[in-house]
Symmetry: C2
Subunit: 279 residues, 2 copies
Amino acid sequence: MQVIKTISEARKIRQQLSGSVGFVPTMGFLHQGHLILVRRAKEENSTAVVSIFVNPTQFGRGEDFRQYPRDLDRDLEMLEGVKTDIVFVPSEEEMYPSANGFNSWVDVEGVTEQLEGASRPGHFRGVATVCAKLFNIVQPTRAYFGEKDAQQVVVITRMVADLNMNLEIVVVPTVRESDGLAMSSRNTYLSPRERKAAPVLFQALSLAGELWRGGERDAAKIRRKMTALIQKEPLARIDYISITAPDTLEELRKIDRPALVSLAVKIGTTRLIDNITLK
Amino acid sequence: MQVIKTISEARKIRQQLSGSVGFVPTMGFLHQGHLILVRRAKEENSTAVVSIFVNPTQFGRGEDFRQYPRDLDRDLEMLEGVKTDIVFVPSEEEMYPSANGFNSWVDVEGVTEQLEGASRPGHFRGVATVCAKLFNIVQPTRAYFGEKDAQQVVVITRMVADLNMNLEIVVVPTVRESDGLAMSSRNTYLSPRERKAAPVLFQALSLAGELWRGGERDAAKIRRKMTALIQKEPLARIDYISITAPDTLEELRKIDRPALVSLAVKIGTTRLIDNITLK
């Protein structure tokens, strides 16, 4: 496994690669969800590249950029374990050189103003921009993203199509703990009591699935029942519960086509997100 | 010379190319200035690719998108004459498919709000975005731009650096008619009387050069004398005259370093731009 830190090194190595390249961009502090992305990248391509970069531009003021968990040694060990070929670990200075300033952004409109975008202004500008940068550096054949960040998948898919980026986006199902909690690096913030409360997100999503399979098509009714379920958990505070078209992220009143049910809930001070698709 | 119309065809052909690719993005209605770019691209690379696409997203409301001159047959003949290898001529539908909508934009801040950006809001968003798209399709080793569009060069150079696009931007000096008028597809709009008036832009720039070589370092004084010269021409109406740092486009009061002198002047209803660098 090669660990590289500079863009120029990455370019040099990329040039020498033949065959397809599968790429998994991450912010590190890896969990099983990431490793499954890497395994897919490895299976489907000649070379698997993982990046670890906690991207400052996707965090808003007052968000957890400084506290975001980091453990590079552990990450590298885990990546070695799944036979990653190349790990790209750029510094902040390498990605956003302070001498030059940084002025260029990728803005994806229409699918970034709602849901996470509404709660986290500027978040998707940072996400789209850093992904554009990483794609230009790594030049992957395929890039792998987890379904847990559903809106991120929509934004990146849109960007790749609109800007004719020459790669395929592969979306991989969410990996869950045995009690249903979606794996996330931020789960590490949870106290033991909060950790016990956290599966309420998936319980609410599962309820939505049951109601829908039972024939319920009224989005407001489903949201109300999800809200009631979550409100029974004293540590939980709902940020949003949303039922949208999966590609445009437009809210649905009547679920007369496939639908993305997504939610953000604060458990104590930790904000968690999760989603399922009804289809 | 291969003429291709679709992105999928372009990708297929690009994959088969070995060696370096020199790329000249144009809006067609070619003149000597373009051909010199293509000659450079051809000299310095294994393959020379030219695109012809009148990009709607870089024209504002009320600008000349519909009237912009087009003559594909003549363009192709001229490109054949300079031994262009590949011409990419996508339709508007190919570049901005109406079925999907188009939502992703490259915004370059800090160098797009002034000069052309102030007179033409949204212009550089369109320019940066279409260049990003074309770069992703053509995947050039080098892309060639004329110095006449000085701010465009600054914006694209900035975008390529910030987003780590894997290509080199080559800037080629402005080509002028014998009376100094910078070549431009828009010169075709000029009536014979206006055509006679149009060299006033270069005369004003030359005056700035003389004053500077004579030791004048006060930007306001130079601008005043340029203004006076242009105002003697009854068909001319100044949009802006600017003296800035060439990379940041910040206005200079005192010319104590290299400086970009640029101006936009309407000759009748035709808006022309030109510039020189003092160094």
